[in-house]
């Protein structure tokens, strides 16, 4: 039945990035059997090469016509997100190799599970159907459960993984229940199908509101919004540091990709109903993340709470519901990839096998002993705090401007307030580094080549997005435009 097959539009050119990435991951899986334990970093370098090869393919895969029976929609939006995922995966793998050696966890599985997690994110970003979305989400989540627990001999690692797993699976279940009601309401699981039916039917349908509330709760867990955040600090602290960085950047970006696609593309007719819920979620998340981060002693936990606060700001971009706000999320995630993974790179480099380097107090006097590290960490922290001329400032500026434009004055005020609070704990680390003497300057590790590459690239990214944001914002606006037509 050729005509039926044509209707499915099995257009393989829309999934080339996924196909290549899977092939790379499976090659590494097979090679893992032949590579000795001491040489597992070879697999890391191969993963980096594979990921770098996929980046141009992903950037060029733009074919907005739904393919594979309406499952896949490889538009500019998904291309933008795929590039973010791949860049963050490259940085993660680059800083992982030395870390794995240092911590004596030389496992090849680590590298291909990172690639599979990236694959799951890419499936999510281009999903045009709840089936595809859910399957991609679970592919990512299951890879992350294993990655977080990969230090199987470490109590914190498996404990964090267990909490992450239980709450992750609970959120999947809630999301699934919401999807079931969305399907029951509209008779289809396709996002474009729901959009076309939604505008015809009464926007008062209680079932749809129910579906929306459940889907928001499900996604709220994934982006670690308050009050659904409780897994994230434990998971970040227990996970290998590079995985924590990847979790905070990649998994958050993927969750926001589906958040934007589901709410802006599939439920635009019900904007009035979900906006209030998101308002509360966004305000509470921003304030809670910033306030609790102040009292943290462990730098990874501090960054986990900071990441919660950042998710709140991004939610603000979603609820203003216009092209500038949504493009602001895309831009913010790009900047966040650079600044957050940069910060995690410095921490990964600094942390020692016995756990030294994870407490804030370990950073005392770092500037005197290793001025370059302190400079990089200070740059990334200032960017995370939103100080010009870094990318963090422009990103926050775009979203706050969009919120003010759309007359969400109170929410914007809460956003500014939370930024001011957040300044305290970022400045505290910088203060520790620059204003103290160091006792044990001699036993600090040296900066490896992979770290230098990551730090230079992330620093360049952080600064360029800060001083010259226009081209990036233009791309973000261009890919988001079709959603608001």
């Amino acid at each position: 039945m050729p005509s039926a097959l044509n209707a499915l539009n099995l257009n393989f050119s829309t999934i080339w990035p996924e196909i290549i990435l899977t092939a790379v991951a499976i090659i590494i899986l097979v090679l893992d059997f032949f590579v000795k334990k001491e040489n597992k970093s070879i697999l890391g370098y191969l993963s980096v090469l594979g990921l770098l090869a996929v980046i141009p393919v992903a950037a060029m895969t733009v074919d907005p016509a739904p393919s594979f029976g309406g499952m896949v929609r490889a538009d500019g939006f998904s291309a933008f997100f795929n590039v973010i995922f791949l860049i963050s995966a490259v940085f993660t793998v680059l800083i992982s190799m030395d870390y794995m050696e240092k911590m004596n966890i030389q496992r090849g599985e680590y590298y291909y599970l990172t690639l599979f997690a990236t694959l799951g994110m890419m499936v999510m970003a281009s999903a045009n159907d709840f089936v595809n979305l859910y399957v991609g989400l679970e592919t990512m989540a299951i890879s992350f459960y294993v990655l977080v627990a990969i230090r199987v001999d470490n109590r914190k690692s498996v404990e964090g993984a267990l909490k992450y797993f239980v709450l992750g699976a609970l959120s999947s279940g809630i999301l699934l229940y919401g999807i079931a009601f969305a399907y029951g309401f509209s008779g289809t699981t396709s996002l474009t199908g729901i959009a076309s039916i939604g505008s015809r039917l009464s926007s008062q349908s209680p079932f749809l509101l129910l579906a929306l509330a459940l889907i928001i709760v499900g996604f709220g867990f994934k982006i670690a919004a308050f009050p659904f955040h409780s897994w994230s600090p434990d998971a970040y602290e227990g996970a290998p540091v590079p995985v924590a960085g990847f979790l905070s950047v990649g998994s958050k970006a993927a969750a926001f990709a589906v958040f934007v696609r589901v709410f802006v593309a599939a439920f635009p007719a019900f904007h009035g109903h979900w906006v209030d819920l998101l308002w509360i979620l966004s305000a509470a998340t921003m304030v809670y993340g910033s306030v609790v981060a102040i009292s943290q002693k462990n730098i990874v936990r501090m960054l986990a709470y900071s990441s919660i606060a950042h998710a709140g700001v991004m939610l603000m971009g979603l609820l203003v519901y216009n092209d500038i706000g949504s493009a602001g999320i895309l831009y913010y995630l790009l900047v966040y990839t650079f600044m957050n993974l940069g910060a995690f790179a410095v921490i990964t480099m600094f942390i020692r096998k016995d756990g030294r380097g994870s407490d804030l107090s370990d950073y005392r006097g770092l500037a005197a002993a290793r001025p370059l590290w302190a400079f990089f960490l200070a740059l990334f922290l200032l960017s995370l705090a939103g100080i010009p001329p870094t990318g963090g400032f422009t990103a926050k500026f775009f979203i706050l401007a969009a919120a003010i434009n759309a007359r969400y004055y109170w929410l914007a005020a809460i956003g500014v307030l939370s930024t001011v609070i957040a300044l305290f704990f970022y400045a505290k680390v910088i203060f520790y580094m620059y204003m103290n003497e160091r006792a044990d300057a001699e036993d600090l590790p040296v900066m490896g080549a992979t770290y230098s590459v990551v730090l230079i690239l992330t620093a360049i990214g952080t600064v360029i997005t800060g001083v010259y944001p226009a081209p990036f914002m233009d791309i973000a606006l261009k890919v988001i435009k079709p959603f608001f037509m």
Partner: protein
């Protein structure tokens, strides 16, 4: 006509589900869960989906429950004493969850579904839904089907990574 079996299955399912979350012994919980899962399979038959019922029995009652029992037995945690107080993890989320559950209950009992009908006729569903389902899986749902195969590979590798002791250590 179908009401009587439905109520029987539903009542057993709900009661044994309550059993799952209220027993002290995890082995008993596993058996209660197995009863619930079997009732769900029966519900699938009432919904004219024999394929789902078969899959439910094979995968849930067959594979998943064996995994559960295996874990309970291997870890020897069946008879563990449990102080039944509050689980600290969920405290913050509980109010939100309660509001949500109340909302859902209110809407299901009071609401109506405003959905347009699909394009399948009754006899397709009753006659050979399995055949139609199979065709859909390999045509329209080809892409997620392939992704799920990778997901199973990840789960396989992941379980081995987490459980197998390092040979060289």
């Amino acid at each position: 006509m179908e009401q009587i079996p439905f109520f029987i299955f539903a009542a057993i399912a709900v009661l044994s589900a309550i059993g799952v979350i209220s027993v002290k012994n995890a082995v008993h919980g596993a058996f209660y869960l197995m009863i619930t899962l079997l009732q769900v399979a029966a519900i699938f038959i009432l919904l004219r989906s024999p394929f789902l019922a078969a899959v439910q029995v094979f995968i849930y009652v067959g594979a998943v429950m064996v995994l559960f029992l295996f874990a309970v037995m291997v870890l020897d945690i069946g008879k563990e004493e449990l102080r039944e107080t509050f689980n600290q993890q969920g405290v913050i989320a509980i109010p939100a969850v309660l509001v949500m559950l109340a909302l859902i209950g209110y809407m299901i009992i009071g609401g109506k579904v405003l959905a347009p009908a699909g394009n399948l006729t009754d006899d397709v569903l009753i006659g050979n839904s399995t055949e139609v389902l199979g065709k859909e899986l390999y045509t329209k749902y080809l892409f997620p089907f392939e992704v799920v195969s990778i997901l199973l590979l990840i789960a396989l590798v992941g379980a081995i990574v987490l459980v197998m002791k390092d040979r060289k250590r």
